[in-house]
Amino acid sequence: MTLYAALGAVEQGLVYGIMVIGVYLTFRILDFPDLTVDGSLPLGAAISAVAITSGIDPYLSLLLAACGGFAAGMVTAFLNTKFKILHLLASILTMIALYSINIRIMSGPNVALLGVDTVFDSVINLGVPAHYAGLVVFGGLAACVLIFIIWFLSTEIGQAILATGDNPQMIRSLGVNTDVIIIMGVGLSNALVALSGALVAQNQGAADVGMGIGTIVAGLASVIIGETVFGCTTMARAFIAALLGSIVYRLAIALALGLELGGFRFNPSDLNLITALLVITALITPNLKKRFIKR
């Protein structure tokens, strides 16, 4: 793998890492497997792209995207908590609905961001070389998100969120409305996912309705890799591990795609297979370790 490819993978790892932090919040903290993300990632991209092409500041467009994602997550959580629809099903319903909504927002299946200023231009204008602009923006924002989420979860409300995932009966009997907490938590998670989508769109110069496919799988793969490699003993460590897991995941994908065995090469379309194998490896490693240590 060339240095250029490695830098690209780290960049991808950081930008999708913001999404992974969101996935960790629902999947592990709230114990709410949420597939809305496959729809809220392109939702963020669509909102940001349309906002920028209509002349809105690219940073402000990130905020709008996050708000859109928050709303999408709230819908899923609302369906689950108030109408008792199974969380997986509720999130699939929102995801499917978002497909149509995203096309409505963009008035078509995609929007190109050609010849308009993005968040990267403001960094380049500060004198950062163009090929590092992505790293700086994504690294900076991922770090901010990480600090925010760790701070937020250590507040009184944040502690109630942790407890809701851990022992809902207990926290209800301590006076917390768990429905509100779940709606807020899933909303926040999807806000982060949409923010990630908005950044991806600005980075690749287009928003596309199909760009969200497989988001949840990549997110879960990163979460599991992060936990296996970096551990999750404390809440702060777990979130840092999720972000690092995302980087490792993208590096592993880049490595696999660059692999050449005789005449054999992986195609980009083999990505899903590679992801599945990665997740399986990460999941069975602890088991295998135990077995070998026993013998």
Partner: protein, 264 residues
């Protein structure tokens, strides 16, 4: 303090599994009463406590706690008045949170939660002092995850957490039933100590008739969702296990008589 007026609750209403869990219960519990609740399985003991706590809404009737009509209040809203300890020691605490985080959660029972730090430095000193009173060595383990504690330790912690803010009503749902006899007796004495020193209005479900007699100032026996037997004060002090069993068999006898009438 607590008034139940004509409270009725059916489960699975309209299906073949319909059960009448609470059958027009009328009960008036005075402030500072320590009521022990007994009855066979399915008598409605846990349903009664759950009804007071807001786990479900009754089909009919009115529930008043500390002059508030709480009949329509959801569970989390009633938490400002009620503290609970469950039978399962795992239900009262968060296993993945530390001792101090659990205590911080409990110290905000029924209060607004904001963006202040979850565990504050001044809390830690208070938590340590409170834990020291249990003399279980937990005061040195504020940063340990609660999942590492034994069932008895967790239940002791839950008792402490339930009473960190003085509740109007303390509900104990067979809170020692899942513990070994020695630990159970420790927790029971801790309960007695806390209830008496804080003068808490308490309902305690127990399967142990001796405990039901020796603890508290009032005893009620439930049977098929009705209050079968209600005794307090001196009458309760002079109660024996034999008296209770007689009451119990009398109720069952009626049931048998009804069955034999149906079958004859």
């Amino acid at each position: 303090m607590i008034t139940l007026e004509n409270i009725t609750k059916h489960f699975h209403k309209g299906s073949v599994n319909e059960v009448l869990a609470l059958d027009s219960i009328n009960l008036n519990i005075a402030e500072g009463d320590f009521v022990t609740v007994i009855g066979s399985n399915g008598a409605g003991k846990s349903t009664l406590l759950n009804c007071i706590a807001g786990g479900f809404f009754p089909d009919t009737g009115t529930l008043t706690i500390a002059k508030n009509n709480v009949t329509g209040w959801p569970e989390h809203k009633r938490a400002s008045l009620i503290a609970r300890v469950f039978q399962d020691p795992l239900l009262g605490t968060c296993p993945d949170a530390t001792l101090e985080q659990n205590m911080a959660l409990a110290s905000l029972r029924g209060k607004r939660r904001g963006f202040a730090r979850g565990v504050k430095a001044k809390d830690r000193i208070r938590f340590r002092a409170e834990l020291k009173k249990l003399s279980l060595g937990l005061d040195e383990r504020l940063l340990d995850k609660v999942g590492l504690l034994s069932g008895g330790q967790r239940q002791a912690l839950t008792m402490l957490m339930a009473t960190m803010i003085k509740p109007e009503v303390l509900l104990l749902d067979e809170h020692i039933a899942a513990l070994d006899p020695k630990t159970a007796s420790q927790i029971l004495h801790l309960t007695q100590e806390i209830v008496v020193s804080q003068k808490l209005t308490t309902l305690m479900i127990t399967h142990n008739m001796k405990h039901a007699i020796s603890f508290g100032n009032r005893l009620i026996m439930l049977h098929q969702g009705r209050v079968l037997f209600d005794v307090q004060g001196d009458a309760k002090k002079n109660l024996t296990v034999k008296d209770l069993l007689e009451q119990f068999y009398k109720a069952q006898g009626e049931e048998l008589a009804m069955d034999s009438m149906l079958l004859s």
